[in-house]
């Protein structure tokens, strides 16, 4: 158990600056999810914490001690890889006990710890198998087991669930979270799946092109996205963003006028989450519905505004209004309107 501190960490591969100064304070026992699109530098950031990549500049402290120049084995961490990286020539038990064996523990103690971890992960029956004789989900558990037997200070996960089917992913996501909470071990978890980020994180760090766009609790990020990027990345279906203009104390998008809570004048980007739109015969927003996707619990309506911007609304229940090519009027509560600077994308108000 330990705190992890990243202080203005950067990473350069040759001339490419891949991580452009990320700072983060992870509390003891906290579960941090690093989320972002492919290629934004999530794995690179995690691998720098693991010691698998050198840190170009900035300080990394694990448990308060500077760890930049420590070898991976001296950082007291454990990592679960996307492809699990199990040792193919060793049995499940040997895979899990490898780290302990290297640490020089007596055989009996290794066997006991491996058995404990196996029980925790329901792997007891499989201890004598080779990795190639396991299913994807079982391999994932073995990789988890290998990480927990050593009782490290920090867990690092690099997209550990992305090779599993959707159902197993949901189940493992809960199990990982439970296990981490039970063991109280600080965790950094990389994913590109915003649902995983929302459901697992104590706090998440939304990354884009080597920068941390926002660091906060999932609800924070959902309710008050700090940037246009964070706003569109978190939430499903993703937030509608339309061009609007602040003028005469109101917010105009085409013909429509909405209340302007920030009082900002000039061109802005207005973000509206599909699930915050309400059908309202008097509503200021008029949408031409082109396609309806009934999902059972709710219905997604895709279409366009009069301004030409494409627009999506998510309405509860099976919704028939506007089916075909009808017009649908919508309204939105003032606290659900997100305004962003038209150029920088930074949140306004």
């Amino acid at each position: 158990m330990a705190t992890v501190t990243l202080d203005n960490i950067t990473k350069r591969f040759g001339r490419d600056e891949v991580i452009k100064g990320v700072s983060l304070d992870v509390a003891d026992g906290e579960f941090i999810v690093i989320v972002g699109p492919s290629g934004c530098g999530k794995s690179t950031l995690l691998r720098m914490v693991a010691g698998l990549e050198t840190i170009t500049s900035g300080d990394l402290r694990i448990g308060g001690v500077r760890a930049n120049d420590r070898e991976p084995m001296d950082r007291d961490i454990a990592m679960v890889f996307q492809n699990y990286a199990l040792y193919p020539h060793m049995s499940v038990a040997q895979n899990m006990g490898y780290g302990l064996k290297i640490a020089g523990l007596p055989r009996a103690e290794i066997a006991a710890k491996v058995a404990d971890a196996a029980r925790l992960l329901q792997l007891t029956e499989l201890l004598d198998r080779k990795p190639r004789q396991l299913s994807g989900g079982q391999r994932q558990r073995v990789a988890m087991g290998r990480a927990i037997v050593r009782a490290p200070s920090v867990f690092l996960f690099d997209e550990p669930l992305s090779n599993l089917d959707a159902k197993l992913r949901v189940q493992m996501r809960l199990e990982i979270r439970e296990l981490q909470a039970k063991l109280g071990i600080t965790a950094l978890y990389v994913t590109h799946d915003q649902v995983e980020a929302m459901t697992m994180a104590d706090r998440m760090i939304v990354m884009n092109a080597g920068r941390a766009e926002q660091i906060g609790t999932p609800l924070d990020v959902y309710e008050r996205p700090a940037t246009l990027f964070a706003a569109q990345f978190i939430g499903s279906p993703s937030m509608n963003v339309v061009n609007a203009e602040g003028r005469d104390g109101a917010l105009h998008l085409g013909e429509a006028a909405l209340p302007n809570s920030t009082g900002h004048a000039g061109p802005v980007k207005l973000g509206l989450r599909p699930e915050h739109l309400r059908p309202d015969p008097e509503g200021p927003i008029t949408m031409q519905v082109q396609l309806a996707e009934p999902l059972g619990a709710n219905t997604l309506l895709h279409g366009r505004l009069a301004t030409g911007d494409s627009f999506t609304a998510s309405l509860p229940g099976v919704h028939t209004a506007g089916q075909g090519s009808g017009a649908l009027r919508l309204s939105v509560a003032a606290e659900h309107m997100h305004l962003f600077d038209a150029h920088s994308g930074a949140r306004l108000g």
């Binding site: 492809n83 020539h89 780290g99 290297i102």
Partner: protein, 293 residues
Amino acid sequence: MEKRVTFKGWLLPLCLIAPQVFISAVFFFYPAGQAIWQSLFIPDPFGLSSRFVGLGNFEYLLGDSYYRASFITTAIFSTLVTLAAMIPALFLAVMADRLVKSAGAYRTLLIWPYAVAPAVAGVLWLFMFNTRVGVVAWYLGQLGYDWNHVLNQNEAMGLVVVASAWGRISYNFLFFLAALQAVPRSIIEAAAIDGARFWRRFFTIVLPLLSPTTFFLLVVNIVYAFFETFGVIHTITSGGPQQATTILVYKVFSDGFVGQDLGSSAAQSVILLLVVGLLTVLQFKYIEKRVHY
């Protein structure tokens, strides 16, 4: 359903395998048959006629202390050549694998010795170690070591082993390097995080994962040491001193072409054929079982 091309009739399939059958027949079955046939005869001293002796040649060979000595020489020689060709190759490959830059240049440089024919390599090493004009022999002399592989049996063995193994290092290096680069990075990284330092990782993770390659190279190098080193031995020591470097293949040659005892020579090649066949079967049957996946 199995997808498989099937031929109707037998003419086309026959034509397709004919070239291979023809080559095998001309270069393997015919000479092998000749050898087996000849091994049953003893020619007279002038080579004008020969007398059928059944298994007499074999009987004689098994009782011949020189022949048994040659067996032991061959075992020592091929073990040493295989080790000397594989261990440095593995070491170089491990070092080259650690390089990020200029690994390609090293690979290119290290492959050159393979382009040198064994007999030429033999001459090369012979010149370096020549007792009168060789650079290395002279240098050893300066250091107070009197190098003379013409008289000293161990030195002769050492020299032919080095000259034989030298070119093979390149070949083995390429295979080892390719195999090393095929080991998934994340497995190595996982081992590093598990606490294993470089050499520990090498012996517990990398080497086991290389075992299919190692096994393949083991077979190939032993067969090389048995057969293809003839040129090296012929140029450097001609089997001497006192038969110290007369391996089985060289004895086939020297008894048959120098000693003109074709019957014994043929019998020796038949035995060699059996030995190599047996070795290969043994290797595949027993060693392969211990090779991981």
